[in-house]
């Protein structure tokens, strides 16, 4: 890259700093005007029950970067990754205001499974998801250095010995799919939770575990990992996962789609009931984001596959939650180690 390509130079630094200072001073004016008009009266706080820098963070920044244009306010994310996201939900339900200014942005799949494994301290119908922004399928993957390069290799080896499978957490749709595959084929898989996608990929890359399972988007970005199986009815990214077989087709199973990354905005039911106009404003402004070319540009810039982006409304979210809760309940004993 030549120096002339640089979008950031000494002169640029000074210009940028000046512009930023000026913009900072001016940018408060339209917001004040908007506040005066009613909702939103302040920035929208977003509780994120995962770590900064992960898929949810990337997704949220891309989305709210465009949403703020339609809602005329800024978004302030705060991250609560503790205890598989449980801390984030408990904090949201315990501390967040019920006035539509506080939202939660979670990954419905693994987080709903949390409640199957251990009930929260708040009633589960006290909040609901109202906008799913992506659908990231659960996959199985191996290192390119592994002796096992296909899902058939993994199953065959799993029939000879117990294979270790890295997962970000036990209660995860990808973990469920792997356990179900083992139960169907007679292969023995031992789930090893490594706390987060980064550690899971590292465990497989360094050969500490035999293979791994995660949402697809976090695996396909790493060139030395190979996706070998997909818990979805269709491979929507054949270019990025050319060796992935559809588990249901390949093994004659009837697992429902295991969307491992189903990031969605949630809200307290009390807030939506008390302020229906505000809730409607949130939904109507949010729906404008998806067709906006600026959003597509922002997603592509983060290297997340655009194929995974899609809107799911409140009803679709409720269906997903119900579905994943049913599967989680079915496999609860395996997830809690009490089988």
């Amino acid at each position: 890259m030549s120096k002339s390509d640089s979008s950031f130079s000494r002169r640029g630094l000074l210009k940028g700093a000046g512009a930023a200072a000026g913009f900072g001073a001016l940018s408060t004016l339209p917001f004040r005007a908007a506040f005066a008009a009613g909702f939103p009266e302040r920035n929208i706080n977003v509780y994120v029950p995962t770590r900064e820098g992960g898929g949810a963070d990337r997704n949220l920044r891309a989305f709210t970067g465009v949403w703020k244009k339609y809602l005329n306010t800024n978004f302030e994310p705060t991250f609560y990754p503790g205890a598989a996201g449980r801390v984030g939900y408990e904090t949201y339900m315990g501390k967040a205001a019920a006035d539509c200014h506080d939202l939660i942005f979670g990954n419905m799949g693994p987080e709903v499974l949390n409640w199957v494994v251990k009930e929260p301290t708040f009633p589960l119908d006290a909040y609901f998801y109202f906008a799913q922004v992506d659908a990231d399928p659960a996959v199985m993957f191996v290192s390119d250095k592994s002796k096992m390069q296909t899902v058939d290799d993994v199953v065959a080896e799993g029939k000879k010995r117990t294979l270790s499978c890295a997962t970000s957490r036990l209660a995860h749709p990808a973990s469920l799919g792997t356990l179900a595959l083992g139960a169907k084929t007679g292969a023995s898989f031992n789930l090893v939770p490594l706390s987060g996608g980064r550690n899971t990929r590292a465990g497989v890359t360094t050969g500490e575990v035999d293979f791994g399972c995660l949402p697809a988007s976090s695996v396909i970005a790493q060139t030395n990992l190979k996706v070998i199986a997909l818990f979805e009815p269709k491979n929507t990214m054949p270019d990025l996962m050319p060796d992935a077989v559809i588990v249901n087709d390949h093994f004659g199973m009837d697992l429902p789609p295991l969307v491992a990354g189903a990031r969605a905005f949630g809200i307290k039911k009390e807030a939506a009931d008390k302020y229906p106009d505000r809730y409607d404003m949130l939904v109507s402004s949010l729906e404008k984001v998806f067709p906006d070319p600026e959003y597509k540009e922002a997603v592509i810039k983060t290297k997340a596959p655009w194929e995974l982006i899609g809107y799911g409304d409140r009803k679709a979210c409720a269906e997903y939650v119900e579905n994943i809760t049913r599967i989680g309940t079915e496999y609860k004993s395996l997830l809690t180690g009490k089988s």
Binding site: M1, K3, D5, S6, S7, F8, R10, L13, G16, E52, G53, R58, T78, P81, G82, A83, A84, R86, V87, E90, T91, G94, N114, V117, K118, T162, S164, R169, L170, A171, N190, V192, P193, L194, S195, R198, N199, R201, A202, T205, T206, G207, E208, V209, A221, Q222, T223, N224, K301, T302, K303, T336, G337
Partner: protein, 506 residues
């Protein structure tokens, strides 16, 4: 990924043209490293919009300079006021702060700066030359081996306990007990949280660190007029550049010590998920084990300061290797760098060396240039920084408490963490007054959860077979080395006693 001298020289010269990015980043890094609660990782996150606006090469240079200098910055308050800026500097006050109290703050800072720069520079060069081999370390050091490495660090408790075995062990086990608070890594079952959600992630490190060291120190120093001893005050009145020159000379005299302790940092840094805290404790423990004067450690011993500072700067270049070579970040800061690179469409991994050598080799040359520039810009500041120690405790104590409480709040923005820091301050104060070593508590708090994490992971992979800890050849070699390092000081002591007896009878 073959190393090419031409590319390196070209890249090195090219990196110097980024001096305008590196210099401000050095000073920013020193400041954020010195303030507890801030770190290179969270500063990069805060400045993400700025970093993303830069082209990848400039952004990477900025992040690397910030990373390296924040590591050095964390040692400054550790030496001057007993507040480690980050967990990576937790072993620095063991000998750095006693030096400051003796009026040798300038010398201690110079030793810290020079050993950081030399350790950082050396490991950067070694990392560059040995990258293909070092990257393989991550393939061989798994949970089983990491258990032994953790125990190397934890065995430092026994060393501290040597002065008062019972109290040392009680403090160490108390720390380990605190370290196990929080949800377990397998089933996420909360333990010892007393219903506080804020403890589900375990006892947060920064409030524990600043509470045990700094808040308790503030409570203690307020009893006197100055943190300095009488002799220390006399020494400080002399002023001049003597301390800096002396520190430089003493460190250069111990160049071999810098070399091998920084190598410990480099190797531990290469292992994904390990880190500077482990490296500095292991280096300190090893330094003491093989010292001819182990009894001087903890009293303001130069080698006790060199070891953790050289090691935690060795980690810096180590964490970049798995990121660049196999695409697995070695630590939190490296992970944020990966996010920034990914945003720019740069995929880390072996292909990077062929597709964009300036981005693959760039971090190492940027690190080398940063360390070289730090030697010139930061070392002269030791003289002025050391004057902090002469500030009256009437002002010092409230400033320490205010800074540390803010530091405790910053990482998670919980008011709870400020109370926690105060609670740990009281525990630390009681420990000091009753002869229990706060460092022993802290080692347990820092390394305990990591040991548990690796142990549970190994057990999970082995399906509950405890003998897994002896299942690997490298692990068994490390066990033997651990045993040797524990009995070696006793053998040396016995030998010295025998020699003394022989001399006495002669």
């Amino acid at each position: 990924m073959e190393f090419s001298l031409d590319i390196f020289i070209e890249q090195f010269a090219r990196t110097f043209t980024f001096w305008w990015v590196i210099l401000p980043s050095i000073f920013l890094g020193l400041v954020v490293g010195a303030i507890p609660g801030f770190s290179a990782a969270n500063t990069i996150i805060i400045l993400l919009p700025l970093t993303l606006a830069m082209d990848p090469e400039t952004g990477l240079t900025f992040m690397i300079a910030l990373y390296a200098s924040s590591r050095m910055g964390a040692g400054i308050p550790a030496i001057l006021v007993n507040i480690p800026g980050t967990a990576g500097a937790a072993a620095t006050p063991l000998d750095g702060y006693p030096m400051a109290r003796q009026g040798k703050a300038q010398q201690a800072l110079a030793i810290s700066f020079v050993s950081s720069v030399l350790g950082g520079l050396l490991t950067t060069i070694v990392a560059l030359l040995a990258m293909p081999w070092l990257s393989q370390v991550a393939y061989y050091l798994h949970s089983v081996e990491m258990i032994v490495i953790m125990i190397f660090g934890i065995s430092l408790i026994a060393t501290i306990a040597a002065r008062d075995t019972l109290k040392g062990l009680i403090a160490g086990f108390f720390g380990l007990m605190i370290g196990y608070v929080g949800a377990d890594v397998v089933y996420e079952a909360p333990r010892g949280t007393f219903g506080f959600l804020e403890l589900y992630d375990g006892v947060p490190l920064i409030p524990a660190l600043v509470g045990l060291f700094a808040v308790s120190e503030a409570f203690a120093v307020i009893e006197g007029e100055s943190i300095l001893t009488q002799r220390g005050r006399e020494l400080m009145q002399k002023g001049g550049w003597g301390g800096t020159i002396d520190g430089l000379r003493e460190t250069l005299k111990r160049w071999w010590h810098v070399v091998w302790t920084s190598m410990i940092g480099l190797v531990i840094g290469v292992v994904p998920g390990a880190g500077a805290a482990i490296a500095s404790f292991v280096a300190y423990q090893q330094s003491r084990t093989f010292s001819k004067t182990p009894e001087l450690y903890g009293t303001g011993h130069i080698e006790g300061l060199i070891a953790p500072e050289a090691a935690n700067n060795g980690v810096t270049s180590g964490t970049l290797i798995p990121l660049l070579v196999i695409g697995v970040p070695g630590g939190a800061t490296a992970a944020i760098m990966a996010v920034v690179l990914q945003y720019h469409g740069v995929t880390v991994g072996p292909d990077l060396f062929m597709n964009s050598p300036e981005l693959a080799y760039g971090p190492f040359t940027a690190m080398a240039v940063t360390y070289a520039l730090m030697m010139l810009t930061v070392l002269p500041l030791a003289r002025y920084m050391s004057n902090i120690t002469v500030v009256s405790t009437v002002y010092m104590a409230p400033i320490i408490i205010a800074f540390t409480l803010v530091g405790a709040f910053v990482p998670r923005e919980y008011t709870f963490d400020m109370y926690l820091a105060l609670g740990f301050g009281v525990i630390g104060y009681i420990a000091r007054k009753t002869g229990y070593h706060v460092a022993a508590i802290l080692i347990g708090v820092i390394l305990g959860p990591l040991l548990e994490q690796y142990f549970l992971r190994a057990l999970r992979i082995a399906q509950g077979d405890v003998m897994v800890v002896f299942s690997s050849t490298i692990g068994n070699i490390l066990w033997a080395m651990l045993l040797l390092s524990i009995i070696f000081p006793y053998l040396m002591e016995a030998r010295r006693r025998k020699a003394r007896d022989r001399d006495a009878t002669a």
